[in-house]
């Protein structure tokens, strides 16, 4: 298509996106969060089995600002947030684009349940700032934003929507596939939904449940079937974190992907990091919801294909 025409047609979505970002910034500033900026180009990052980086002269374009933000947290910055451009290799689809925007925020002294509450507050603030009601319509679904939101454990979500249990799905290496085909289409359709307590093996930087260490204090926020955010009660145990990284590095090696240099400075800072919770929210996905867009292409000015 005429590319200038496509750009012109996106004006309304880009205006909503910009207003949304301003509303988010206002929300965190009003709660005494400090806005920070950390480098996009980094020598190493958290090893994760299924996230692939883009190389940049021997370093990496970060896939998330997590490690740098946690080093700030460990240095006494108790409430921080950042809008970070992130890069992931090989991710392109209606919901994915290789260069995208994550909103990450971290807060000392809370756990993932408090973080769920803070998400509820944030979304109400955004919709008010946009001059919208408390219901947003996304692809035909009327989603009520007022809390409390539906909160379902991952295990219960498998019981409710999937033909096999969470444990069976992991055993058969079908967890992701079942999540995508059986669970995601049903969640967050009438109000935002939180899936919580993921299997420990699927949360490399998360604290485990004290009463059941097979589960991690991780949650995902869904709206209209879209995954919007991922949060943890943060792991602060250095040895445990090192062991988890080693396991993720092994995953990468067995899949023929190069392991990363060990994030030594991050690990060294971890013992000073307070008990805390942190979250990464897909700004592009949230913009899709507030503009009722079916694809991520409609909420960014340029897709890589247009460059």
């Amino acid at each position: 298509m005429d590319e200038q025409w496509i750009l012109a047609r996106r004006r309304e979505a880009l205006q909503t996106r910009a207003a949304m970002i301003q509303a988010i910034r206002q929300f965190f500033l009003s709660r005494d969060y400090l806005e920070v900026e950390t480098p996009l180009r980094v020598p190493t990052q958290a090893p994760e089995a299924h996230i692939d980086p883009v190389m940049s002269e021997g370093w990496f374009l970060h896939t998330s600002p997590e490690l740098c933000m946690k080093r700030l947290l460990a240095a006494g910055y108790e409430r921080i947030f950042q809008f970070a451009r992130c890069f992931r290799a090989g991710e392109r689809g209606n919901l994915h684009i290789g260069e995208f925007t994550l909103l990450e925020w971290y807060r000392a002294g809370i756990d993932y349940r408090d973080m769920m509450d803070e998400c509820e507050d944030l979304f109400i603030h955004i919709t008010q700032a946009l001059g919208r009601g408390e219901t947003v319509t996304y692809q035909g679904h009327k989603i009520a934003l007022a809390g409390p939101w539906e909160r379902i454990s991952v295990r219960d979500a498998f019981h409710r929507y999937a033909p096999l249990t969470m444990e069976e799905a992991i055993e058969a290496d079908r967890f992701d596939e079942i999540m995508v085909s059986h669970i995601e289409p049903h969640v967050g359709l009438t109000n935002p939904t939180i899936l919580y307590n993921y299997p420990a093996s699927l949360a490399a930087l998360s604290r485990l449940r004290q009463e059941d260490p097979t589960l991690a204090e991780r949650f995902e926020l869904y709206m209209g079937g879209l995954e919007v955010a991922n949060a943890f009660s943060e792991l602060t145990d250095r040895d445990e974190q090192q062991a988890r990284f080693a396991r993720e590095q092994d995953h990468r090696r067995t899949r023929g992907k190069p392991p990363y240099p060990e994030p030594e400075r991050f690990l060294a800072a971890l013992p000073s990091m307070p008990e805390s919770s942190g979250i990464a929210l897909g700004v592009d996905r949230l913009a899709m919801i507030f503009t009722d867009s079916a694809t991520i292409d409609d909420v960014v000015a340029f897709t890589p294909e247009m460059l």
Binding site: R9, E91, H96, F175, E177, L202
Partner: protein
């Protein structure tokens, strides 16, 4: 050899010796999970369809197809006739085999006909074709809001959305892979 990341709509791959075309494709990746490539596949010989989800790491052979450049002649009943300009050999494709390409077929257009052995299976059009607009609401002068669209019809009867400044009798270029308006053609 293709890998999962090569998958896209209209890719032709071989599974157990049979040629399949990807008719629908979605890249999905949950949470911190693995990349999944959800495909609808259609057997190019029998027409039977099924869904299959591939993972990164999966690989497969390209379908063993031959392509021959031929010219579209005419439609008879539900058969589309194409001719090899060198040998004058003619082949027929059904409506189903031609699929969405029928939206862009104008007489004498050259296209690649796909063969599996001696069976003609389908047609691949050039990525862009230029077609004349046969119906479009007049452009209201002053409607300069960039980004406005309206439905228009082209000479094959195909209807699509185009910028509001497009008028009847003009030629436009259409991307045959997506069916979308691409640009206005100035002659």
């Amino acid at each position: 050899m293709y890998s999962a990341s090569d998958l896209r709509k209209n890719l032709k791959i071989q599974i157990e010796g049979e040629p399949y075309v990807v008719t629908d494709f979605q890249f999905v990746k949950p949470g911190k999970g693995q990349a999944l490539y959800r495909c609808k596949l259609k057997n190019m010989v029998t027409g039977s369809q099924f869904d299959r989800t591939f993972r990164s790491g999966d690989s497969f052979e390209p379908a063993n197809l031959q392509e021959k450049n031929m010219q579209y002649l005419y439609k008879e009943g539900d058969q589309y006739c194409f001719m090899d300009n060198e040998t004058y050999e003619q082949v027929y494709l059904t409506e189903d085999q031609v699929g969405e390409a029928s939206n862009f077929l104008i007489d004498n257009i050259e296209a690649e006909i796909l063969f599996f052995g001696s069976d003609a299976l389908g047609v691949t059009l050039p990525n862009f074709v230029d077609l004349t607009v046969t119906q479009a609401d007049p452009w209201v002068k002053g409607d300069t809001a960039a980004g406005n669209t309206k439905p228009i019809t082209v000479e094959t009867g195909y209807t699509l959305n185009a910028p509001s400044f497009i008028e009847e009798g003009e030629k436009i270029r259409i991307d045959t892979r997506t069916g979308d308006y691409s640009t206005r053609v100035k002659e």
